[in-house]
Symmetry: C2
Subunit: 278 residues, 2 copies
């Protein structure tokens, strides 16, 4: 596996593959790879001739400097995992390859990026949309994997690709979970042992709420009950727990269309998110 | 010459050319073609195997509904001119091909889009940057022509291409002028005969100011004098007349680096812009 840190080299490599008629799938990550990321790699391998893993901790999508500073980094272990998984190239650009001097461009998506994580993390999805556009243009990939764990991000990226006519297919990938239901996240390693034991209650509350909704209970009380369950389990605060249209995150109308329950909650200093279909 | 009004057809055509190893240059316009546009077409022909002319009056870059409503349209004449010039395809998309239902994306460029026309036309350069990104992705062009007549727009587009790593070369093209110095513009046809006789004073004042600056006169008084000359000639109002660094439109420091004089002025209900090197 090649480890590349600059635009010129990844462009040359990608152009070579494309000239040879080989397709490319990019797996965008911020490193600290876990089994969820590795499932993205597997899906990428199934869809393209060449797989490029992308590791870049994008400062523009961190509205909280402490969250950025504490974001885990395990580059050596990441390289070993990607190599073992048969990835063709790791592109881990230095910051100047992404934001050179004078960089002045922002890509913003209205609508789908508002509310939910967009409300609690101002500027976050602008940072995501801007760097994701560059991931696609820098790697010249034919397809890209995005996990449903970051469900709102996935919808933002789909809107971005449609609106800017970016020539890339987005492959959504199901959330990978621990056996107790906790969604895999690089932030999980920041949980204390006590909090780690509490954390699966987030998914548990979503599952119970989804079942109640499918049984015909009214959304308002179901959501209030789920919030109460999460706080009773020991979470510090529920930032949001909402029922939305699965397709575009529009306000929920009825269960005739696919719906999604989405939650963000704080456990000590760690912010966890999760979502499930209803 | 093919006349194409939908994304699917232009994409298929562009892919065909690319597979055959042919390069593509796009000439973005809003129609009402004059000799300035046709000089862009010539430059495009000199740089690529295939030339695609683009005609789309982009509502998102008109902050003034009256200016949008009065923007000239001469599609039949435009088609004849492009055909005579040997253009391979005219892509004149219907609005839904550019802004389909649910469209929610904005590309913004800070810095270079602020001040000058950006001050008087709020949102204008967001509209430009967004549609230009789509021009490039929809046509898959290798290069694109932009006239120096819209000098700030040219700098915005260069910044956009650099920042988003768009795989396209920007070809700047010199302003084409009437024999009396008036820069060609689709808006000139909205001038009354009286105003048409006044209009060349804009370029005249720029030329005089540029000569005085090169003679070592101080910028402040030179600019005030040029504004007074434009108003004395019969212009209703000078919106701005500024001296900036040519490269990135940063505030002018000294004549060791290339500088540019830029002006916008109103003549009756018509807003004219111009610029020249110093």
């Amino acid at each position: 596996m090649q480890v590349i840190d600059n635009l010129e080299t990844i462009r040359a490599q990608a152009s070579g593959w494309r000239l040879a008629g080989e397709s490319i799938c990019v797996v965008p990550t911020m490193g600290a790879l876990h089994a969820g990321h590795m499932s993205l790699v597997e899906i990428a391998r199934a869809h393209a001739d060449r797989v490029v893993a992308w590791i870049f901790v994008n400062p523009k999508q961190f509205e909280n400097p402490e969250d950025l500073a504490k974001y885990p980094s395990h580059m050596e272990a990441d390289i070993a995992k990607l190599q073992a998984a048969g990835v063709d190239a790791l592109y881990a650009p230095t910051p100047d390859q992404i934001y050179p001097e004078g960089f002045a461009t922002t890509v913003s998506i209205a609508g789908v990026s508002e509310g939910l994580c967009g409300a609690g993390r101002p500027g976050h999805f602008d940072g995501v949309a801007t760097v994701v556009t560059k991931i696609f243009t820098q790697t010249q990939a034919d397809c890209a994997t995005f996990g449903e764990k970051d469900y709102q991000q996935l919808q933002v990226v789909k809107r971005l690709v449609a609106d800017l006519n970016l020539p890339i297919d987005i492959l959504p990938c199901e959330t990978v979970r621990e056996t107790d239901g906790l969604a895999l996240s690089s932030r999980n390693e920041r949980l204390s042992d006590t909090d780690r034991a509490i954390a699966p209650a987030l998914h548990g509350a979503l599952q119970a709420a989804s079942a109640r909704l499918r049984d015909g209970e009214a959304p308002g009380p179901v959501i209030e009950r789920a919030k109460a369950e999460i706080e009773a389990a020991g979470f510090t605060r529920v930032e949001y727990l909402e029922l939305r249209a699965a397709r575009d995150l529009a306000p929920f109308k009825d269960l005739d269309e696919p719906a999604r329950l989405l939650v963000a909650a704080h456990l000590g200093k760690v912010r966890l998110i999760d979502n499930i279909p209803v």
